[in-house]
Subunit: 341 residues, 2 copies
């Protein structure tokens, strides 16, 4: 027997442990063309909240209630009938999350080298969040030397990489995060120019004032993880010809009532702004480019990252819920099993 986490009902507002259940399931047997995998690390990510809304059309289907959840994971191949994979290989895929063992056909699967970087980093800075940050910065925002980049959710798995890529490209970086401790890390470790603790500001007007001071020439690039008053402040401070990469709006994911958008969207017109919503899967053909740019920066210590580690698959719901409470520092990962079986 092995364990897997099921969603037992769709959360209406903030998700909690009551929406999940860890159940015993059989360890499956791999058929021809299949391999058995053992999950080592699993990822929790804000986008998963979107898959808990069965009524909303999106880029991936909602989670089913009658099957284990799924998500990004680093796993070890235990037994393989898939050409090109063998027992002992380490892989990253989008199936292994929320379970201890599973069957894969090797589709959308990447092999990873456990000697190049810690295994868990393939779920963070070298994984989907890092790729998301890289795609937003290099494919959408394209910050130029001397321009100002504003990043919301800046201490998170995506935001922290955005900040450091921005610095590497010569931008002035203004970061927003939700605690003094996170802001200190952003200034001292990630090297941002200004970090704003958004909890110091009661509303969009106050945040706008702080942002305008931190970005006296205006915001040329905005990387959006949060929504709400952050988007409104960014629209107030956006420069002529500004760009916005819309990656997430975590502030609104758990809303049960309709929350209106910012009242100042018309600034997009008067200032000739491009706002691009995106999902990382659009850029999957650029994975090599991403790795080639970010892996050396990581090796040189020019990109630092934090991890919040949860021990054991039973803690996966806590890790997920923590995303919306601002409890995690950097990338939240769950240790599902040991590195080597």
């Amino acid at each position: 027997m092995s364990k897997a986490v099921f969603l037992t009902n769709y959360p209406a507002g903030m998700p909690g442990p009551e929406h999940f259940e860890t159940r015993d399931v059989d360890v499956p047997k791999p058929d021809e063309g299949e391999m058995l995998c053992r999950t080592v690390w699993m990822s929790v990510d804000p986008y998963m909240r979107g898959r808990m809304r069965p009524d909303v059309k999106s880029y991936i289907p909602p989670f089913s209630l009658d099957a284990p959840l799924e998500g990004g994971a680093v796993s070890e191949v235990v037994e393989s009938n898939v050409p090109g994979f063998e027992a002992g290989d380490y892989i990253v895929d989008f199936l292994g999350g929320w379970k201890e063992f599973y069957i894969s056909k090797g589709e959308r699967t990447q092999k990873v080298d456990p000697n190049l970087a810690p295994l868990s980093s393939y779920l963070g800075v070298l994984g989907m969040p890092g790729m998301t940050a890289w795609a937003g910065v290099t494919q959408i925002l394209k910050p130029q030397e001397g321009e100002t980049l504003f990043v919301s959710g800046a201490a998170g798995a995506v935001g922290s990489v955005v900040c450091q890529l921005g610095k590497a490209k010569g931008a002035r970086v203004v970061a927003s995060a939700g605690s003094k401790e996170k802001c200190d890390w952003l200034v001292e470790e990630a090297g941002v120019d200004v970090a704003l603790n958004y909890k110091d500001y009661k509303n969009a007007n106050e945040l706008t004032k702080a942002l305008a001071e931190a970005a006296p020439k205006g915001v040329n690039c905005y990387f959006e993880n949060v929504g709400g008053m952050h988007l409104e402040a960014a629209l107030n401070c956006i420069a002529l010809g500004g760009r916005m990469a819309l990656c997430g709006m975590i502030a609104v994911y758990n809303n049960t009532e309709v929350e209106p958008g910012p009242p100042n969207l018309v600034n997009l017109i008067g200032r000739g702004v491009m706002a691009r919503g995106f999902i990382v899967s659009e850029y999957m053909d650029k994975t090599m480019e991403f790795a080639a740019e970010v892996a050396p920066l990581l090796a040189q210590g020019k990109i630092k990252y934090q991890e919040s580690v949860y021990e054991g698959i039973e803690k996966a719901p806590d890790a997920f819920v923590g995303l919306f409470k601002g409890e995690n520092k950097g990338k939240a990962v769950v240790r599902v099993g040991p590195d080597r079986s």
Copy 2:
């Protein structure tokens, strides 16, 4: 003496005749490097409302209260000390509006041929509104054969050209306008596939339902002139990989209270949508491309247009106010003087 229209105070909400005054001014004398021009046709455009907000940062400065207003016009050169221009030439510029005579240095001035098309069309389909439509369609939206293009404010000077360019590029075109008469013109003359009279719909939900029926495969491209419930409905129906050209939000230009934005901006992310606010002046280096594409379509009768003509400079404020009341059909122009002096 000659006449010019002054803005006497900045409107707080809807502009009206009480904000304008037609005054007598001297006919100026051209110095070295200057020419005296006589306005034949002047344009009124929604963007001018933005120049009546002295507190809002935008791409052009606000109008002054102590000088005649300015805006696009077709004029005749009366006396020229500018090399390359001579008496009898016809020109289009951004100075000649709201006055009978004025001095130009020939900057941002284009000569036009009175034999190629009616002079007033250089303020509409062959002028800034046509160029705006062309830039939004060809530089931002890039509709592909078989895609669906939704256009708000579709019977206006810009929208009507957007619709017809969309049809010329093989798109299915869904248009929205504010009267049955306008919708009939859009279907019968402009050739759109479906025209929605938005006054039939009480709110964004009702408009969404109608749009979803008219665009069963979703909206690939949205050309935004209106804002408000139109934007919300478009966000509800936008397809994966959709594009939005944000040209205007006339529904909110006269708001005195802050009106919240649409509650469904998060769809930009889940559907990977690019929304680009723009102003036509960004694309001025492509004026030749525009003329080369649109002039032949016009000559072949593939682009039709309507004009609302106001007679006499004193009517200019009425023409302008009419923009916000949906009173004008197609391009609103004011006859300031005869074609030939």
